[in-house]
């Protein structure tokens, strides 16, 4: 029997037809079936130096789980991934694999890499489709830990601590747990039932989730310590959306991507009978080139708008996952590269009527090593739009810093923490976007897991 599959390209991912999916909010990528998964997994060369593992921020044992899938031992594949990752069904869907594991894959030198992300998703989906049993809480060790924020960092930290027997309470500001996974990333990319399942599992492990609890207001970090939490993990996320500071930016039809996406994802404003309004625009310009920009653009498309993405650098520099860019293009979203907005033009009633932009060209490399875009002279033009969505990144939320004496922060106000999540305050740990600024799900998850280990050490050492 031939076990190695020498096909040069990945097995294609079945997807909803672009014309159909640009009208609905259901998941775009449908997932491999078992047969395709086995064939794709067999494309792994099982090379000696395993570069993919080094490419993975949490060092999932990729060749091992691919080997298990190739054997048809799907549940075992899931177990291998679970040793290092808390959220395989999520990461398989949203990780920028082309910049991590798949970038390093030896198969990718000639032809395409193995579809590691798709196979991770397959293993996780297979597990959840075939297991009903819920994890059981281990014997309690009598120690209490508070986790602030229920994004990937908080969830991973809470899960690992609960498995060690800690009594964990998660405090979440919003009415639903999940962080960016519920309010930011849209249903069509990450179905909310997947996030809900991860949270149910935590609850089965004995984790308590207190929604509607803003730490810094309802409880300060100090008050949590006084209430008997021996350690506190801060996973409060990236913070406030940034704006450009251009004229007209506060007009009625200008939104941050966070606002627009929260209305759609968390508040389900696209549903017929939703109480939360969302701006029904005809022509939308989305400013930015990351995942957030792609998500906002594709959401606006599904709400019936013509959408154009305005990005100040070139296609090669787009920070978004490649798959999302391809999907966006297939859905009919247009891109204006090397273009930067200079003014939002409004009518007498302050409705947006156009976005005035300037063309850019690439100059010398900047601090990030990317060539710095500089405006071209006399290149201004107007894009006729009735709505502008800004997806320009974030700056740290000051709330925890302001209400926690002695908590040190970095240059821009992000919480300062070492690689294990230790902050300047004993017993207070932090990780994820709150420490790094907007990054990725896998990095936040990894930070949560590292902090769980450090918290365990800290409490044992007391």
């Amino acid at each position: 029997m031939k076990t190695f599959n020498d096909r040069a390209t990945k097995y294609p991912m079945p997807v909803q037809d672009p014309l159909v999916r640009s009208q609905n909010f259901e998941e775009v990528a449908l997932g491999y079936d078992a047969e395709t998964a086995v064939l794709e997994a067999k494309r792994c060369l099982h090379c000696k130096n395993r570069p993919c593992v080094k490419g993975c921020p949490v060092a999932v044992d990729i060749p091992a789980f691919l080997g298990k899938i190739a054997e048809g031992a799907f549940e075992e594949a899931y177990e291998v991934i679970s040793r290092t990752s808390s959220l395989p069904a999520v990461c398989g869907r949203v990780c920028p694999q082309e910049r991590q594991c798949e970038k390093e894959c030896t198969r990718g030198i000639k032809g395409e890499s193995v579809a590691i992300g798709r196979l991770e998703r397959f293993a996780a989906d297979h597990h959840f489709a075939h297991t009903q049993d819920k994890p059981k809480p281990p014997a309690p060790n009598g120690h209490r830990v508070a986790v602030v924020g229920s994004g990937p960092a908080g969830l991973a930290c809470a899960g690992d601590l609960a498995k060690m027997g800690y009594e964990v309470t998660v405090f979440e500001a919003l009415h639903t747990a999940g962080g960016v996974l519920v309010y930011g990333i849209p249903e069509f990319r990450l179905p909310k039932k997947i996030v809900a399942r991860e949270i149910e599992n935590l609850v089965s492990l004995g984790v308590r989730i207190e929604t509607n609890s803003v730490v810094g207001r309802l409880y300060t970090v100090e008050e949590l310590q006084e209430e008997g939490f021996e350690a506190i993990f801060l996973g409060t996320g990236a913070g406030l959306p940034r704006f450009m500071g251009i004229k007209g930016e506060n007009a009625k039809g200008v939104f941050s991507a966070n606002e627009y996406l929260t209305r759609a994802n968390l508040m389900k404003a696209y549903e017929e009978d939703a109480e939360t309004p969302i701006y029904r625009a005809k022509r939308v310009a989305v400013v930015g080139g990351g995942n957030v920009a792609m998500d906002a653009a594709r959401t606006a498309k599904r709400l019936g708008a013509d959408v154009c993405i305005v990005y100040r650098r070139g296609r090669e520099e787009l920070p978004a996952r490649k798959e999302e860019v391809v999907h966006a293009e297939e859905e009919g979203i247009t891109f204006r590269f090397l273009t930067n907005p200079v003014e939002v033009i409004t009518d007498a009633d302050e409705n947006v009527v156009a976005l005035r932009c300037v063309e850019m060209e690439l100059g010398e490399p900047d601090g990030s090593g990317r060539r710095r875009p500089i405006p071209k002279e006399n290149s201004e033009f107007e894009l006729p739009v009735d709505c502008v969505i800004m997806a320009l990144g974030t700056s740290p939320n000051p709330l925890i810093k302001q209400t926690t004496a002695g908590l040190e922060t970095g240059l821009h106000g992000e919480i300062a923490a070492d690689g294990e999540g230790r902050t300047s305050l004993p017993g207070v740990f932090a990780g994820g976007d709150a420490v790094t600024g907007s990054a990725t799900v896998i990095l936040a998850m990894g930070a949560g897991k590292n902090a769980a280990r450090a918290i365990d050490e800290y409490i044992r050492g007391k």
């Binding site: 207001r217 406030l240 506060n250 606002e259 209305r263 109480e275 939360t276």
Partner: protein, 280 residues
């Protein structure tokens, strides 16, 4: 879930409820707000805390019925529950060192002005209150204000109760007569804009309590942004109180109109639903 302890209609379009939320009742200070959702599918509504009863663990909020979400909330009776109630959000009103102050409330904004007046009185300040309404039928909290104010002026637009006109005339009279440490403005944006203009020549510290459209109320979405002194500020984390002389009220007024059409439609939809229910 959070239980509604009491419910009272203050006038045809303004309702007061007490919600059971002991921890919030313990922590809240004048000027802070909550965000609530009536039902699991409801909109997040920001409402300033009008009072707390720590012994009973009760938080009072007063709301005007403007759109679909506040209509849903208004239909909840005492004993029923609402889905979410989060707070206390925003920074408390800064009353430190204020010995003599004017508190100006407009319409349902009086609900928010009252705890500020009460807090100042507790701290032993000389408190002069000015409250304005459209007409007699809309007057709320008169007795409550009287109890915590050294003087109280009431105005109505049509003169059907108190002095005819808006809050600016009595405000000006007070400022002409004596010097004050601070003026606190809470009410419709247009009222705050003109009250701020009235106070401007006197060089007195003037504070406006802003209540823009919000979603999360924790500094995540950016929809509560306001221009203050040329800078973009976020009402939920930087406010809700700002220096009234620096707030760009015109922009705030324009931004508050973002979802007017949607709200009108929601009202319509609700009325139709209601009609259906009534007809059976």
């Amino acid at each position: 879930m959070y239980r509604i302890l009491t419910r009272k209609s203050l006038n045809p379009s303004v309702t007061m409820i007490e919600v059971e939320a002991p921890r919030i009742a313990m922590k809240a200070r004048a000027g802070q707000f909550v965000i609530l959702r009536a039902d699991a599918r409801g909109e997040r509504i920001p409402l300033t805390i009008a009072g707390c009863d720590r012994a009973r663990g009760a938080v009072t909020v007063i709301f005007q019925i403007v759109g679909g979400a506040t209509l849903s909330l208004d239909r909840k009776q005492a004993g029923e529950e609402i889905a979410d109630f989060v707070g206390p959000l925003g920074n408390p009103t800064d009353v430190a060192g204020v010995k003599k102050a004017i508190v100006v409330g407009g319409g349902v904004g009086c609900a928010i002005a009252l705890p500020v007046a009460r807090r100042l009185k507790e701290l032993g300040a000389d408190v002069r209150s000015v409250i304005g309404f459209r007409s007699r039928d809309f007057v709320i909290l008169e007795e409550e204000f009287r109890a915590v104010s050294d003087t109280l002026d009431i105005t109505t637009d049509d003169g059907s109760y108190g002095e005819r006109g808006n809050v600016c005339a009595p405000l000006k009279r007070l400022l002409d007569g004596e010097t004050f440490d601070a003026v606190y403005l809470v009410g419709p944006l247009v009222m705050m804009k003109y009250a701020a203009l009235t106070a401007k020549p006197y060089g007195v510290k003037t504070v406006a309590s802003m209540n823009p459209i919000m979603i999360d109320g924790t500094g995540m979405c950016g929809c509560c942004r306001i221009r203050v002194g040329g800078e973009t500020k976020f009402a939920c984390v930087d406010g809700p109180d700002f220096d009234a002389q620096l707030v760009d009220f015109d922009e705030a007024i324009m931004r508050s109109r973002t979802y007017l059409a949607f709200e009108a439609e929601a009202r319509e939809r609700h009325c139709n639903l209601y009609k259906k229910e009534v007809r059976g």
